[in-house]
Subunit: 203 residues, 4 copies
């Protein structure tokens, strides 16, 4: 009846099929055929929603980015800045199977973004958003720190988090979930002085 209620779900089913294949077999195993088969529709239908394969991959990347965006923004509503900060970054680590799959997906798209301007644009947007939010959070948590310091802290925090996710996703069991968590906590302790000032991002 409502065109939105029938069009969107099918489109989402297709991007979900893409993401499933990316997580399980890698981005280069994504083909229109496989997506159609995974989603249980015909090839023609896939190409009705996404005229080209690049359109399809871009939509899938946008979907996963949007999913991350929403999960992050919902975590920023807490009263304690530091807890929010920690929660957000932990969301980006492959601490359980679901987020491990997401890490593989994000890594795959990030790698392809290196040679795909369209994907690079999406990647740049989400990186800008997250570092902006992290910078704000650091500013709130350490009120007397300069903006530059906060931005530096944000970049370090996000780089280390993504780097940890990269290390975990690109090996198999080299670094455990608890190690990931411990390492990130250690870094946050360094970046966010708790009891007394005198180090970390404060001047």
């Amino acid at each position: 009846m409502d065109p939105l209620s029938s069009r969107r779900p099918r489109r989402t089913a297709l991007t979900n099929a893409v993401l499933t294949i990316v997580a399980e077999r890698g981005l280069d195993q994504v083909s229109v055929r496989e997506v159609a088969a995974t989603a249980g529709v015909s090839i023609g239908t896939v190409q009705h929603y996404f005229p080209t394969k690049d359109d399809m991959l871009l939509a899938a990347f946008n979907d996963v980015v949007q999913r991350i965006r929403q999960r992050i923004s919902s975590l920023c509503a807490g009263p304690h800045v530091r807890n929010n900060l920690s929660a957000v970054l932990h969301q980006l680590l492959p601490l359980d199977d679901e987020r491990a799959a997401e890490s593989r997906i994000v890594l795959a798209f990030a790698a392809r973004a290196a040679t795909s301007p369209a994907l690079a644009g999406v990647q740049q947007t989400i990186l800008t958003e997250i570092t902006g939010a992290l910078t704000d959070a650091f500013a709130l948590a350490a009120a007397h720190a300069t903006t530059d310091r906060c931005r530096l802290a944000a970049h370090i925090a996000l780089a280390a988090t993504d780097g940890l996710a990269l290390h975990a996703a690109s090996t198999h069991g080299w670094i455990s979930a608890s190690q990931l968590s411990t390492t990130l906590d250690f870094l946050l302790d360094m970046l966010l002085p708790t009891t007394e000032p005198g180090y970390a991002i404060t001047p």
Copy 2:
């Protein structure tokens, strides 16, 4: 005369061709045809050296890893531990065109390692080596720090470095070379107390 003097160069020419294509157009644009054309040999010759495409990619990844390994070990010979540490990590950042290409290459292989056990093995080996070396370096630089602290510092330093390289490679100009360098320096200052103790990785 010496078979090694005629066999090796050709094999290396082939893996170099692979790495060139990976850096310029991405790992999924690597085909036996393209590699043969880039190296200026016939298709049959490529498959004489590498019976399957996976063999070829694995050899190329091993080559780039070996290249990194040697560059790093040559930097560790300096007298000042902290300088060595800094130099090694800066080597892993895409600070010039050559290292930007290498970052794209390493990122591409890391992403594929997520779904390729053979590549994951190589990745795990090099990560283990580098974190081991970094841990030793932190131990030398901060003599009274526990081994666990040093290992944590090593993981953070490498994760942040690889994360920065990932951010730079997966966008185009989002983060400049000087920003990369500044951010890494800031992190190292945090991890390596200079004048006086009382923070960072010392207890």
Copy 3:
């Protein structure tokens, strides 16, 4: 309009192309490319109808078997059992160019059936059908013979016929059409006593 009227002919054109190549150049010269070229369609079209080469060969064998089946059954309608029997078996001999081509085709598929279960199944089916029909015919022609005798006669008749076709197809002119016919007639005379017994190879 009717999908059958546009789909079937094309599919049949493809199997006919296969059979043409088999008859002229042998089964191992059949390639998807050659079939496409012979049928005047694109490679993709061939593989739209037959996803794999084995599917294509199986369909072609089924087609030729079906053709034989129909020719045989149309011959069994005559009033004189012995004439029918003779006519059917003569149909299986390479007595003219068309049936010589068919003999080469059938021989090629029979040989491949030795190492292809799918083709062996088709071969077994047609052999069972023909020997069944021949057994019935012998039973009608020699009313007081036991079923076992009739089955033996049927097996001998078909084996000798196929053997003659094999000899003719696998040499070039070693045995002439008239020799084939004469030999088969002689065998039928032996298997089907007409007026009086007492012949065989004795004068």
Copy 4:
């Protein structure tokens, strides 16, 4: 030392490798690579003995034909003509695993002979030899039969035997070894009257 004692065995090992592959996987699975691997030599060695693949196949066919020739001629030395005749023809049926393999081999080469003049020549030679020998045998067994009758009987006997072998090799278990033997015996009884006339399919 003796060139013959070192050259011939290796050459024979190669043709044996060909025949093994033909029996197990079919003639079109024979490749220089596979033959070299099966015989445990290098590709270059195979092509040292057989410059082209056709040379190799022709030699292999000649070998198998020679093997049959020798087995047959050794059986013709017996004192009872009828027994010799029966023994020779039974040798051509796939009554045990070894002769089943040989039947697949002979069938494969016969089918290829349909489009290969060189193989057809060998096939024609062996057919001529065997029918000649059979004609002689029938002449001895039925002294007062004309030569033409004997030749007809020979053709029928060989055609039926080869046809039975074809039926057995091209299906899997459709006709059992004992059925093959029984059918051939029945035919021979028909072609070679022993005590009294009055047989054929009538009881």
